[in-house]
C-alpha cells in the first residue's frame, strides 16, 4: 500500500484531489506517506544496517533508536566525543 506514495510523487498526481491543504489529509493517508518516507530513508543504509521488518512495522520508536544505537555504536561514540571537565580543576 505504501508504494502508492512513490507512484503519486513520480507522477506528480496528488493522492486525493479533494485534499488541498495539509491539515485536511486523513491520518490514514499521512501514515502511509510517513511510513514510505521512513522506509525510503532506511533503504539508504546498507542492508545489514537496516532495522528488521519486525521492528519497522511493530516496534516502538525507542526500539528503532536502540537498533541504530547498536548498529552504529552511537552511544559509545557520543561519550567518546564528550569533553569531561573536572569541576575541581576549575578555579
Amino acid at each position: 500500500m505504501s508504494a502508492i506514495w512513490n507512484v503519486s510523487k513520480a507522477l506528480r498526481v496528488p493522492l486525493d484531489k479533494k485534499l488541498t491543504r495539509l491539515h485536511e489529509v486523513p491520518h490514514t493517508i499521512s501514515f502511509v506517506i510517513r511510513k514510505r518516507q521512513q522506509l525510503d530513508s532506511f533503504n539508504e543504509f546498507p542492508k545489514e544496517k537496516r532495522p528488521p521488518d519486525s521492528i519497522i512495522w511493530d516496534g516502538t520508536s525507542e526500539e528503532i533508536e536502540e537498533w541504530f544505537d547498536k548498529v552504529f555504536d552511537r552511544k559509545k561514540s557520543a561519550n567518546d566525543d564528550n569533553i569531561i571537565i573536572d569541576v575541581g580543576e576549575v578555579e
Binding site: 495539509l22 491539515h23 490514514t28 501514515f31
Partner: protein
Amino acid sequence: MPVEKNDVDIERLFSWSKETIITGLKGKDIKVYLRLLGDADLNRARVMALRRSAEFRKALKDPDSNERIAFIPYKEELSKDILVESIVALSLRDLTQQSLREVVVKPPKDPDSDASTEELEQFQKEVDEWPKKRESIVREKIDVLANKRREELRTQTEDILYDTYLSQLIKELCEQELSKRFKEYCLFFGTYADKKFTQRFFESFDTFDNLPTEVKDRLIMEYSFLEVESEDLKK
C-alpha cells in the same frame, strides 16, 4: 476477513468521507457528513480522551466517589477463586501484548525474482496461512502465560489479591473509558454540517455527549466504516 499481503484494498484508503442521516434527532432526520480525522484532530481527540480517562481514574481511586461504588465490588463480595480468575481475565490484554512481543513467527521469505510459478504459488500459500499460524502460536503463548499467572496468584493472600484486582480493574476500566472517549471525540471532530467539511455539526462536545445512546452508537459505527486498521496500513 483481513486482507493479506499482496491482496491490499488500496481503494479503502481513499474512502475517507461519507454522508449519513441521523434519525430521530429532535424528531427529525438530519443529513451529516463524516470524515476521517487528520493528524492534528486525531491528536486532539487522543489528548481529550486521555484527560477524560484521567478524571475517571481519579474518581475510581476515591473510596467515596459514585464511580467507585458503581464500578468496583467490595472485597467481601469476592471469594479467593473469583479474585484469581478475575485478575487473570483482567490481565489478558497485557498477556496478549507480552505474547505478541515474545512470539516471533518469521513471515515467508520473498521468492527470488526468477522464481518459478510453483515457487510463487508456494510463497502465496505461506503468505495466506501466515496470519493464522501466528495467531495460533500467540494463543498458545497466552494460555501458558495465563496459567503461570494463575499459579502465582494462588499463593497470595486474599488482601493482596484484592489490591491486585483493584488496580487491574481500575486499569481496565480506564482503558475502556479511553477507547470509548477517543471514538466519541473522533466523531465530535469528524462530523460536519456541510459537504466541504468547513462547519462542524456539533457546537460543543457536550452537545454530542448528550445525544441518545443509539444515535451515538450509529454514528460511531458509520465512522468505523471509514477507518482502515493499522495492520492493513502496514502492508
